[in-house]
């Protein structure tokens, strides 16, 4: 049996899942004169792990709140599995598993009580309730702490419990708002594993994060959002190719004088010089690396050379002009 399998036959009426997992059309949200989400249109397909990437205040959480019906859009439309979030809110909530940033756990209650409450609230069949709770607490390795109050848990444990709770009613779409915010490296790894296992079960996972490493490790597609606007949407690899290509980092014995020659080469997008260090961003065209190395070697002694893919941080900077975590 799959270690992370959380699926248990649901005796309730099966929910008809139509269309994409999430479909946003021209979505706007204003808070007074401030526009938090600005004409956002996005489609998340069923069964994928989709990431919303953006700095703090970029509109990620507001977008998520509109998807879950916690916030009413000023204009535009959101559909979840074909259901209109505003008109068919209850159906949407039934197929949505949410792990908010704050975890929203009742700290003064035990882990078991939190799970039990969620099961009753979401109408998990009584005869299956206990079995499901045990199984999910086991999954997130908290079964031995089932009788402990949540207030005694670490940040990572709370996050794991929130994941277990969100999976209790077997949702088709799970959203995780900053899933690893404030958790240690070990817990982060475990949370990533849970997310990947959800995808393997055919569930759709929507993640908001401002950790690039996380987006890269988990997401099949990424939407980059800034100031409430969609900057781009694509796979991490495609984003790297489209906006980064290849990056060369060179170190010479003395400051390199002929930067302009490199800039003129076809396929070179950007050259940054910092004393004896050069950073050249290319479009990834063939034979460009030897050409650059040649020019540099002719004029200075090459001490160090590194060729790498751009990080999402660099892509984000290039796309928005700002760093991801500013």
């Amino acid at each position: 049996m799959d270690k992370y399998n959380t699926q248990i036959a649901d005796p309730r009426q099966p929910v008809e899942h139509r269309g994409p997992a999430v479909e946003m059309t021209d979505l706007c949200k204003d808070f007074g004169s401030f526009r938090a989400v600005d004409h956002l249109s996005l489609t998340v397909q069923q069964g994928e792990i989709f990431g919303l990437l953006g700095p703090n205040g970029s509109g990620k959480t507001t977008t998520i709140n509109m998807i879950s019906g916690l916030s009413v859009p000023t204009s535009g439309m959101v559909r979840v599995m074909g259901y209109d979030v505003r008109r068919e809110a209850r159906q949407v909530r039934r197929i949505l598993g949410s792990i908010p940033q704050e975890t929203a756990l009742y700290e003064e209650l035990t882990a078991w009580d939190n799970m039990d409450f969620h099961a009753d609230l979401f109408g998990v069949a009584r005869k299956e309730k206990k079995e499901r709770i045990v199984r999910l607490l086991e999954l997130v390795q908290l079964l031995d702490r089932k009788a402990s109050r949540v207030s005694t848990f670490s940040g990572g444990m709370k996050r794991r419990l929130a994941i277990a709770r969100a999976l209790l009613h077997d949702p088709a779409l799970i959203y995780l708002d900053e899933p690893t915010l404030g958790v240690d490296v070990q817990a982060r790894r475990a949370i990533w594993d849970y997310c990947l296992s959800l995808r393997d079960q055919g569930k759709t996972v929507l993640i908001t994060t401002n950790y690039l490493e996380e987006a890269q490790a988990l997401c099949e597609r990424l939407a980059i959002i800034d100031h409430g606007r969609l900057i781009t949407v694509n796979t991490p690899d495609h984003l790297k190719q489209a906006y980064g290509g290849t990056i060369l980092e060179l170190e010479t014995s003395q400051p390199f004088a002929e930067v302009e020659r490199i800039k003129e080469l076809p396929g070179v997008k950007e050259v940054q010089q910092e004393e004896r260090r050069l950073k050249v961003t290319t479009a990834g065209v063939d034979h460009i690396v030897p050409q650059i190395v040649n020019i540099v070697s002719q004029n200075a002694e090459l001490r160090d050379l590194a060729v790498r893919e751009p990080t999402l941080d660099e892509i984000f900077l290039q796309l928005t002009g700002t760093a991801l975590r500013d």
Binding site: A36, L70, Q91, A104, Y106, D113, D120
Partner: protein, 366 residues
């Protein structure tokens, strides 16, 4: 619209939460009891002016005059010497010194005027006025007893009710209502506001359970804890104050109805403010003025039309009227038991609907 399982879950969760957080239990249960004792101590402690009587004559008339003062329900008397009395007055331990002259009996027998000196401390004008009013009353009462054929006082009491009710049992019924109000608002208001403060409201709002079920479940949780508080306050009222209900069913029924109103009011406040501090401030800030305004000390018809008008806007006045009927058979207004109960039912339904609408329209700030 209603999902019984979700209602039960919300109720159970709120009771558990309240019981695991001691502050909650203390606030929800002990505050109404504290209010009860506080008010009663206020009433008992504020009633009598400490007064020294210098008895320079111990004849039968002088003693009768002393008895008349004792029966005036205004003095806490102690017999002292003139010197001791002066010391007590200067040190602020008494309000007044009444000096009965040495020739009191002789002058009364000779039907000559008697001068009784009263020295009054003006530290508190309320006490001073009490003394001013009580001395002539004592004199009248003395003459009525000493010379019944000379001075005749014929009080004709019309017994509107079967029993005489002392001031404290009368007042304590109103305090019970304010206790229920405070307990209900605090229990539900703080519980609801805390859901927003700790962001656990997301768990509720993201569930497929209807907002009606959530509201009803939460209110039932607060109602259960409030009921414990009501029973304790009621027990204190009966066992310690001696206020025995005339109609037990009405006490329980109207107590519960009042509790429902204030639990709904608290839920509404918690949903609107989303923060415990304003709920706490509003609960305490409104309970005492409403208590005084709504006929706590006597029927509303004894007050000014403006006060009557304001008081009738709030459910406390109707709840007090109903509890006074339940305990003492009193009819404090012209609506009758059914009319007052109907008004309270209207308030309860209105506030439950408002709380549900407020939660239904609740969205997150970001």
């Amino acid at each position: 619209m209603f999902n019984l399982r979700a209602i039960w879950a919300c109720m159970k969760k709120d009771i558990k939460t309240s019981l695991t957080e001691r502050t909650f239990t203390i606030i929800g249960i002990l505050v109404p009891i504290n209010i009860l004792f506080l008010m009663i101590l206020f009433v008992i402690g504020g009633g009598y002016a400490p007064t020294a009587v210098v008895m320079n004559d111990h004849g039968p008339y002088a003693r009768q005059f002393y008895q008349a003062m004792s029966g005036a329900h205004s003095f806490r008397l102690q017999q002292t010497s003139a010197r001791e009395a002066e010391g007590l007055l200067l040190s602020g331990r008494i309000v007044a010194v009444v000096t009965v002259p040495a020739d009191f009996d002789a002058r009364i027998q000779q039907k000559q005027p008697v001068q009784v000196n009263v020295q009054v401390n003006n530290l508190n004008t309320d006490f001073t006025n009490d003394i001013r009013r009580a001395i002539p009353l004592s004199i009248t009462s003395f003459y009525a007893k000493a010379f019944p054929n000379l001075v005749t006082i014929m009080p004709r009491e019309w017994d509107a009710y079967a029993q005489d009710t002392d001031y404290v049992p009368y007042l304590s019924v109103s305090i019970l209502v304010v206790g229920i109000m405070l307990g209900g608002v605090l229990q539900s208001g703080l519980g609801t506001a805390r859901e927003w403060e700790s962001a656990t409201i997301k768990e509720l709002l993201l569930s497929p359970a209807s907002r009606w079920s959530i509201i009803v479940g939460k209110m039932l949780g607060a109602l259960t804890i409030g009921l414990v508080s009501l029973i304790i306050v009621l027990a204190a009222l009966i066992l310690l104050i001696g206020a025995w209900p005339a109609h037990w069913g009405e006490v329980i029924g109207f107590g519960l109805l009042t509790l429902i109103i204030f639990v709904a009011w608290g839920t509404l406040l918690g949903t609107l403010f989303k923060n415990r501090t304003p709920v706490l401030a509003l609960a305490f800030g409104t309970s005492i003025p409403l208590f005084i305004l709504s006929g706590a000390f006597g029927p509303l018809s004894f007050t000014t039309p403006a006060v009557q008008l304001i008081a009738q806007l709030f459910p406390v006045a109707y709840a007090i009227a109903l509890q006074q009927h339940a305990f003492h058979n009193f009819n404090l207004n012209t609506y009758g038991v059914g009319g007052n109960a109907l008004v309270l039912v209207g308030y309860a339904l209105g506030l439950i609907i408002l709380a549900a609408v407020a939660l239904r329209r609740s969205t997150l700030a970001h």
